[in-house]
Point group: C2
């Protein structure tokens, strides 16, 4: 089979103006970025007759290091729907540069189910992530500069500047700095060293851009005005009295918004089969909600009959956050859920298989092993029940691999159907959309079954429930655990958040994606666990409170043999080494 | 008069496809970025009949805090040439985001001589600076990751990875990190703190993106292949034996080049009068050469009869580096030099006027003061002689201000002519191209007088002169000083550079732009000085050695009342506060 970059290059790519014309987009709302990409202006939402398309969410079983092919299936399903004659747009998160150069060497799907041009998708795209970094770091610089000038000018600060003192507490600055890179050396740093003109020394850190609250804000904002208001609400630091200092108070919210004005527009691209794709935002799926943007979904629903979007990790993570955070804020509802599973991934979820990085795959994964697969199917069944809890039909997409036996495939399909889901094979990686028509048909049937969305029925908890009760509900109903175990710090933080009037926000739990619990070694369907909650953090701009169950890596590192070593230009100036 | 942003918004902007069509650009070489900007592929250099235009370099008298309007005059001259019926393209450096939010609130010219859309020019443009930051920081992360993994794995490193040890000396890492922001707190930092999995602790620093060697490399590269080769030569660190470690050895040069592939293409824009502009790169004019890119100049010379380009600071700085670094590497030559002067700027160069930030301007600058102006004219005469040294005709552009008297204007024009220059008033700020036709006519006449360029005659020194002799020649002939005063460190570094075979490179002196000497308080035409040279730094990728005469600010800070406070979106979503 050809390499990803070879397939990408030989796929006939429509001029983006033609792609937009087919979607009925007025050129006034299209800002071309080269010949094959364009920024789409959300202003078009007010124009023309909306299609009011069906929204299909793609989630997955508990992920494994093997990779279940969720992005490939998302792209393949969109192409499969096209093959059936349905108008369809996929909405995807933008890949981060960090993993491209660190581990993966690319993240635009794979095989015959890719977004093209894959080089653009993997490298900068239209600059949104860099714009987020710039806006984020402007706020950080503004904060440190204000701290510095207030200290340097002392009593004279207000007389000299006409500004009120903010009295920023350097020990309680809540806003890190950010870069879209894997750089472990920036995880813990000291800034402001050098001398009395070089700032105020303090401990600081960098997070990767996907972990910036601005990324979550961009993904959740309804429009430019909402973006501006959310940025104004961001709490950057506490003052000496422990009161929050917002971006509005620092007078930096307007400039941050201006830096994000173009980034608020999703990027129109296409798949290897010319199915339109909107790429926009890429928030983490642990400390943030792990979904592409509200604006992209709304634009796509306006322009097509089917919109296929993808959420991060398994259904306990990105799907739960899709319903309880994204849909709650956007007012949108899903018409169907697709759960991606693989035979290998289910075996790895059985608890019987020991995957060791760098070692050959265990025999069970390379040949038929029905007993192990049977155990693993419990995980699939759990995710089906979990998704059905939100009142939507579920379709299992079984992503077929060459090592799968017919009996194994049949076992998974039967287990899915027995649990109340539709089920179909997907072979998009090797066959493109033609390999996903069976899946597409199942999705169309599922969407026809949907009752009209009824808002609150697609939520685990109402806004009015206090934060602690929301956390407990999420663990009991969303993870299948026994409840929460709050640290003393978390208890104090919950009381403070409640007192400050933030109880109405949804919660976002950051836990391992590799288990339904907080413990990655608990495979399958653990139930006998209490989820330890160490601390809580308010994201006033994004509009949720996230809870940490343990350390979360917000700045990855480069491994010993990083992917960048093989990325280069060849003799003709073409890029090599992305996949 | 209208504000800059109002003038920008009401200027009729041609679709970039039409602008390109007028220049005879094949659409295959044009990558639209929105409707009013496009990336221009250097591949077009091999296509069609080149115009072999005349190259006009815009420099200035010794700059003052008043601002002499060099960018306004550059844009105005290009528009003035258009008014005369000549085809003309201006090539400009891209503004840095740092000063936009720090001091100026914008840097795209001003009044009726602006690049439009000015919001795009001032904010991200097409993302080149962010791409440079990303490529720069990838190398920094790669360096720290390799240091970390070699230490962590110890003797097992090679057995585990198959890679030879680089033995990076953490105390001699030559490559900082970079961001396009004014952030004093990042000037001196400690990275790698936190714990044994979070990198190797060491002192580090951030520089602003314009100070990255990659910025100078982008500005000097001939094409993608040359870019790749230059990046490979960058010396990132020394090993434990004091030997250089290059980006090639770290295997990161290919990935860095890939990140810069689109940034290598200049951005086509236009002025308020639809004169084409190529915006590309923006290296510092102290530790780098302070000129826009070789590729942009070559593309513009291919497409137009006149190309107007701008160099940083006064003729002792950007102009000297234009001839001795940029032209030496590119093989291009200038046909004429324009020196921008103002009555106020010359008075401020007299040594008789004391400008205090935040205080009202001295009376001499607000009313006629011929004796002070007479003293200041010596600075203009020096710059004329300095520019004529390179064998090109000189035209003084006297940028008129409302406070200038007729007698003052006449005195400057007469002094310029007496020193062997053409001279003309420029009123581009208030009148656009119509205010610069007299200047444009003088430039056309000057270009007609030019003898064919003769390469070495436009250099102060030959390649073959040793580095120390180049420095001495530059100070004696380029600054009018008595010679150089080398620190012990500088002597040792010169000996080491010579021994390592770098004597063939040109030199780049980083000194204050506010005096011809290294001492900003020596106004007018100081001659009795020796230039102290503290240290030397090899830029093996950019292809020069820079000399520090004192501390150079490579990371600016935000002031007490930064410009970002007034930048915002208004009710209709338009940007306000840029100027």
């Amino acid at each position: 089979m050809l390499s990803d970059i070879e397939i990408s290059r030989q796929s006939p790519c429509l001029p983006v103006t033609l792609l937009a014309e087919r979607l009925g987009i007025d050129p006034a709302h299209l800002s071309p970025q080269g010949h094959h990409m364009a920024k789409l202006d959300p202003a078009l939402l007010g124009q023309g007759k909306p299609r009011a398309g069906k929204l299909v969410l793609v989630s997955a079983i508990t992920p494994t290091p093997l990779g279940e092919g969720k992005t490939v299936t998302t792209i393949g399903l969109a192409m499969g729907l096209n093959k059936l004659g349905e108008s369809c747009i996929a909405t995807l998160r933008q890949p981060s540069l960090g993993p491209v150069f660190g581990v993966k060497g690319g993240a635009a799907g794979g095989g015959f189910a890719q977004v093209v041009p894959m080089e653009a998708m993997n490298l900068h795209l239209t600059g949104d992530f860099h714009a987020i970094s710039a806006a984020h770091n402007l706020a950080a610089a503004a904060l440190d500069a204000r701290l510095f000038h207030e200290r340097r000018l002392g009593d004279q600060f207000t007389a000299t500047t006409g500004l009120a003192r903010l009295e920023i507490d350097p020990a309680r600055i809540l806003w890190p700095r950010t870069l879209d890179i894997n750089d472990r050396a920036l995880r813990h740093i000291t800034v402001g060293l050098g001398g009395e003109l070089d700032g105020v020394p303090r401990a600081d850190s960098f997070v990767i851009t996907a972990a910036s609250e601005l990324m979550a804000i961009l993904a959740l904002a309804r429009d430019l005005r909402d973006l501006r208001a959310r940025i104004g609400r961001i709490q950057l630091a506490l003052n000496d009295q422990g009161e929050p200092i917002t971006a509005e108070q620092l007078e930096v919210a307007g400039a941050m918004t201006v830096l994000l004005k173009e980034a608020l527009k999703p990027t129109l691209m296409q798949t290897t089969e010319q199915t339109p794709v909107l790429v926009h935002a890429g928030p983490f799926a642990n400390i943030a909600h792990g979904n592409s943007s509200v604006i992209a979904d709304r634009l796509a629903l306006h322009l097509a009959d089917y919109v296929v979007t993808e959420a991060g990790f398994g259904s306990d993570m990105g799907l739960e956050k899709f319903f309880n955070i994204k849909c709650r804020q956007s007012g949108l509802a899903a018409d169907a859920v697709v759960l991606v599973a693989t035979v290998r991934g289910l075996k790895a979820n059985s608890g019987q298989v020991n995957l060791i990085p760098g070692q050959p795959l265990p025999a069970s994964l390379q040949q038929e092993d029905l007993p192990t697969l049977q155990l693993g199917c419990a995980n699939l069944v759990w995710h089906i029940h979990n998704a059905r809890r939100y009142g939507v039909p579920v379709v299992v997409a079984l992503n077929r691999f060459p090592s799968d036996s017919e009996a194994e495939l049949e076992m998974v399909l039967a287990a899915a159907r027995a649990a109340g889901a539709e089920a179909a094979l997907s072979q998009a990686f090797t066959q493109g959309g033609a390999g996903a028509t069976e899946l597409a048909r199942a999705v169309v049937m599922a969407c026809q079954r949907t009752k009209p969305p009824v808002g609150e029925s697609q939520r685990l908890y109402p806004d009015t429930l206090p934060l602690a009760a929301k956390l407990a509900t999420l663990v009991e109903c969303g993870y299948g655990g026994r409840g929460i175990l709050l640290s003393e710090q978390a208890k104090a933080q919950l009381a403070a958040l409640s007192a400050a009037g933030w109880d109405h926000l949804p919660v976002c739990i950051a836990k391992t994606p590799l288990s339904l619990s907080h413990n990655p070694s608990l495979k399958g369907v653990p139930t006998d666990f209490e989820l330890p909650i160490r601390s809580l953090t308010l994201c006033a701009g994004a509009g949720f409170v996230y809870a940490l169950t343990g350390p979360v890596m917000t700045m990855p590192g480069l491994g010993t043999l990083p992917a960048y070593r093989h990325i280069d230009i060849d003799e003709s100036g073409d890029i090599v080494g992305l996949s």
